[in-house]
């Protein structure tokens, strides 16, 4: 199926070197509500890209279309050159509302993706334990979701997505239901994960600061119907002290630049 590779047409977008997810002409309407119109996008492999835009502009819709959870009215999605129309093993989703099974322990929740794929219990639990430790939840394996804080629940959701070993992680506002301290900590963890997991992250957020802080690439969407209005690649060195980034001149300038662009949509 490699032949089905969709080539990127020349455009004003910064050319990514190696796109892993290619979005071509995606449009989506819910009845008379037009959510997305003609989205063309490439997501570079091994990078963290953010979808940023005003509420209701179709960020979740676009992410779910990429995940294969919603059908688009027009256009196609290709992952690794293959057109996809349904969920696949190369993509994993982290849900805004966590979507943890309340009757299952953290361990079983994390291992659930592998359980569905029929992996033997001992094997999948070993993998799950590894990723539970990776997201900083070691020792909480046998707790049920209601015994965990919001931040911890989202870590379980993240570990579940990591443990199926997908190449692309789709995160829909994963921190929106998490308090500010946890959110900061979580963002730092995500930067660390992204540098040592060699995965592609596609991240939906409301927050300009968050997007600039963690992303290699920010896709700005216009209000409904969502279209790509701008693509920004903040060049911020994230290898040092995470707290320094918040005071980095380039970080502050980029935040300001995006805000100037979005301001017109406010109100």
């Amino acid at each position: 199926m490699r032949a089905a590779v969709l080539r990127k047409e020349p455009s004003s977008m910064p050319a990514p070197i190696d796109p892993i997810v290619e979005v071509r002409g995606i449009s989506k309407s819910y009845g008379s509500t037009e959510a997305l119109r003609g989205i063309d996008l490439d997501f570079p492999r091994g990078k963290l890209s953010s979808l940023l835009g005003p509420s209701g502009c179709g960020k979740t819709t676009l992410l779910k279309i990429i995940a294969g959870l919603i059908k688009a009215n027009a256009g196609s999605i290709a992952v690794d050159g293959k057109v996809v129309t349904a969920p696949g093993p190369e993509r994993a989703f982290v849900f805004q509302d966590f979507a943890l099974m309340p009757w299952a322990t953290a361990l079983r929740n994390v291992a659930f993706g592998l359980e569905l794929r029929g992996k033997a219990r001992a094997e999948r639990e070993e993998i799950a334990r590894h990723y539970i430790a990776e997201v900083g939840l070691a020792g909480f394996e046998d707790k049920y979701p209601h015994q965990l804080s919001g931040g911890m629940r989202q870590r379980v959701g993240l570990a579940r997505a990591l443990s199926v070993d997908a190449d692309v992680l789709l995160l829909d506002e994963p921190f929106s239901a998490v308090d500010e301290q946890n959110r900061r900590k979580f963002q730092e963890d995500l930067i660390r994960l992204r540098s040592n997991q060699n995965k592609t992250f596609i991240f939906v957020t409301h927050s300009i600061e968050e997007a600039v802080y963690i992303s290699d690439r920010i896709v700005l969407l216009s209000p409904r119907p969502g279209r790509v209005s701008q693509i920004i690649e903040p060049e911020i060195d994230r290898s040092g002290d995470p707290d320094l980034i918040h005071r980095d001149k380039h970080y502050l300038d980029t935040v300001q630049e995006i805000w100037q662009g979005l301001k017109q949509y406010a109100e």
Binding site: A67, A92, F95, A99, W103, F112, L116
Partner: protein
């Protein structure tokens, strides 16, 4: 139409949910609490029997003595052999059929349209009135009794299961699909566990209704088993024996419900255990 359905389980489901997880000093001793409550009940009964409230109302102690006597002469165990067979069969059939049909109706629109109205009518109707009709068609044997149990137990089980499946947490279903769950896995791994508290509320009501069904059948149509024992002792004015028989079936019904709850927590919703 769906919103028009209100089963008793709604109240039951809410009640169990809201009390779950609360902690209070004396609530931590459920066994002790239950014993105190039973002792209190027995005490009041004893006093009421001694006043006496009615000449046909025996004391607790007389009833208890009668109970021992009924076991000793073998009449109570014998009656239970005849009552429990159709009861057990009817309840097991209703449970599987009810949960199966309810799930089907919850997932499949056509099934919903075909079956749910029937069960709503059945639940609203004074179904005990059908029991003589059942005898008319099926005679007075085991079949008639089993059917009487099912007529009473099935509707509430079907409707509760249906409602629980319809109201399944959509976000968990999407999660399961996104991690490549098949349709079957979505049903067995997400829908049924998620629906299980309400399904079990329905099963508890169904079991209680099943007890009503079998006793009614024995009182109304087939003079055998517990129903016959009650009628027999009433006709001889052995009120202590009559009350002992009635109390024994109430106790058995309660015990069954407790066992059911234990299974639910143990097998389906471990997170609610000792929360």
């Amino acid at each position: 139409m769906a919103t028009g359905i209100r089963t008793e389980s709604e109240a039951v489901g809410l009640a169990t949910r809201s009390t779950r997880g609360e902690v209070g000093g004396w609530r931590d001793q459920p066994v002790l609490l239950r014993l105190v409550s039973i002792a209190l009940f027995a005490g009041i009964w004893e006093i009421a029997g001694r006043i006496p409230v009615s000449f046909a109302f025996p004391t607790f102690s007389a009833t208890f003595t009668a109970f021992i006597g009924l076991i000793a002469d073998g009449s109570l165990p014998l009656a239970y052999v005849s009552t429990l067979q159709p009861l057990l069969l009817g309840i097991v059939l209703s449970a599987f059929l009810g949960v199966g049909l309810g799930t089907l109706c919850g997932l499949w629109r056509t099934g919903e349209w075909l079956l749910i109205p029937v069960f709503i009518v059945l639940q609203a109707a004074p179904v005990a009135a059908f029991i003589p009709m059942v005898t008319f068609v099926y005679g007075i044997g085991m079949t008639a009794k089993t059917l009487a149990v099912m007529i009473l137990a099935l509707p509430v089980i079907v409707l509760n299961t249906y409602k629980a499946v319809r109201n399944v947490n959509e976000s968990l279903v999407v999660m399961c699909r996104s991690f490549l769950g098949t349709r079957w896995q979505v049903v067995t791994q997400i829908v049924l566990p998620d629906a299980s508290p309400v399904i079990f509320a329905g099963l508890r009501l169904g079991v209680a209704a099943g007890f009503v069904g079998v006793v009614l059948a024995e009182l109304l149509i087939t003079p055998t088993g517990i129903g016959d024992l009650i009628t027999f002792h009433r006709s001889r004015a052995d009120y202590a024996e009559m009350y002992a028989t009635i109390a024994s079936i109430i106790a058995l019904s309660t015990l069954t419900l407790i066992v059911l709850q234990w299974i639910e927590v143990r097998v389906f919703r471990p997170e609610t255990r000792g929360a």
